[in-house]
Symmetry: none
Subunit: 223 residues, 2 copies
DNA sequence: TATTCCGATAGTGAC
DNA sequence: GTCACTATCGGAATGAG
């Protein structure tokens, strides 16, 4: 089996990956991205073989029920993500502070899909927007989450969607190459200077979360 | 003073560079290129401050006397180059064999200029066409001697030159980038695969000159 | 189309 | 998608009181 179907193994046998699977329901999985591009990076995976090979830009067309159900799972994933950031001490509000929680999710967590996925099994990214991770190694990684190559889950809602708008976009791969590297915190452009962006993202991350030195080092190590 | 004028030091004080200056005359110098792109690579440098900053494509316009004088110096440089190849045993004919000498010069020594020089002081390259040198490190180096970026000295003769033809050429920089790497011995194209070309040029060099193993190693070392 | 350093870009084969 | 490897391509500095 080729690399395109690596996510199938989680669907087939989630019990085999207890450290990766953070939520298992009858029809969905939420797993940790094996190559996280941020401190926290999860994938929502529908288990149904009926839809797993449908393109994420098409799968919600005329399927409001599916969209609504995925939306529920994404909310759970977002809250798992926040719980973990609370657990490791990066976030410091009370766990039951619903307003702080929602505010953080709205401003610093992104859910959506890549307009040209590489892995064939349908998956939705749920990722914190720090992009502070040793797995973030090049422009393609970064711009796949910070340009229109990334499509927010909200935009896939079939009830709100102008179906014509979806294909009017330019070549998504070209968008990744042509877009400058732009800091998600402050909007500053680094053109194509990836190393500079990485240094800047580390500063922004430290400034926002005030992690301890040992925390910083742990986030820089591969997990 | 910037790098553009590094050749000025030879003009100012040739006695300071006895290992580099292979011929010193009242009006001209012949020096070893400090980053030789072949086993032998010389530069002919007019000493006159009147002309040293004129572009090589312009300097011989309406100046047949200068052209003729440079032509004389180039012939001397070519013969110095051959003498050295005889001395180190790469060439094996007798030193007074005028026919063998002229044949080698005609087929394996090139004299001319870069259509966009980087160094400001007027200079004419006299180079053996082996291109077997550790200083030959990239496509720009190679194609600057093997494409129309390089203009043979013969073509600069004001009595033979159609002055219109000189500027009809495309952007010389683009020529270097767009032209494939083509073996000067056999014409084989290596597209942009510079390392492959280097290996092939070594084979061609060995096949043509039959150097000893220790000679080969010495040509690969920086001098 | 000076050199050198450093880094961005690109293709490969394997998983 | 990942990784590791190789190689090509690309900008910036180059000095000196
Ligand atoms: N074996 C794997 N297990 C879990 N996640 C993976 C695996 N291989 C790749 N990924 C992630 O899956 C995502 C696929 O991205 P994409 O197909 O572009 O939406 C990337 O974020 C990868 O880091
Ligand atoms: N300091 C130097 N002394 C002697 N030759 C040099 C020096 N610096 C560069 N060169 C050579 O000068 C030539 C200039 O090339 P161009 O200006 O393109 O005709 C190249 O072949 C360089 O290798
Ligand atoms: Zn910023
Ligand atoms: Zn050849």
């Amino acid at each position: 089996m080729s690399f395109k179907y690596v996510l199938q193994q989680y669907i087939n046998n989630p019990k085999k990956f207890p450290d990766s699977v953070v939520l298992e329901e009858e029809d969905f999985l939420v797993i940790r991205d094996a190559y996280p591009k941020s401190v926290r990076h999860l994938l929502v995976i529908p288990r149904s073989s009926e839809i797993t090979h449908i393109h994420p830009l098409d799968v919600f067309d005329k399927n409001q029920d599916l969209y609504n159900r995925v939306s529920q799972i994404i909310k759970k994933a977002e809250n798992i993500l926040v719980d973990e950031l609370l657990d490791i001490g990066l976030l410091k509000f009370e766990s039951d502070d619903a307003i702080a929680r929602e505010s953080f999710i709205n401003t610093f967590v992104r859910a959506g899909i890549h307009s040209v996925p590489s892995l064939a099994n349908l998956h939705i990214h749920v990722i914190s927007k720090d992009f502070f991770s040793p797995r973030l190694k090049n422009k393609k990684h970064y711009n796949s989450f910070t340009t229109s190559f990334f499509v927010d889950f909200d935009e896939l809602d079939p009830s709100k969607r102008s179906s014509a708008s979806e294909k009017t976009q330019k070549n998504p791969i070209q968008i990744i190459k042509d877009s400058p590297l732009r800091c998600t915190y402050c909007g500053k452009s680094f053109e194509n200077k990836f190393k500079h962006l990485k240094l800047h993202l580390e500063k922004e991350f430290i400034n926002k979360f005030k992690p301890s030195a040992s925390q910083i080092q742990s986030f820089k190590r591969l997990s």
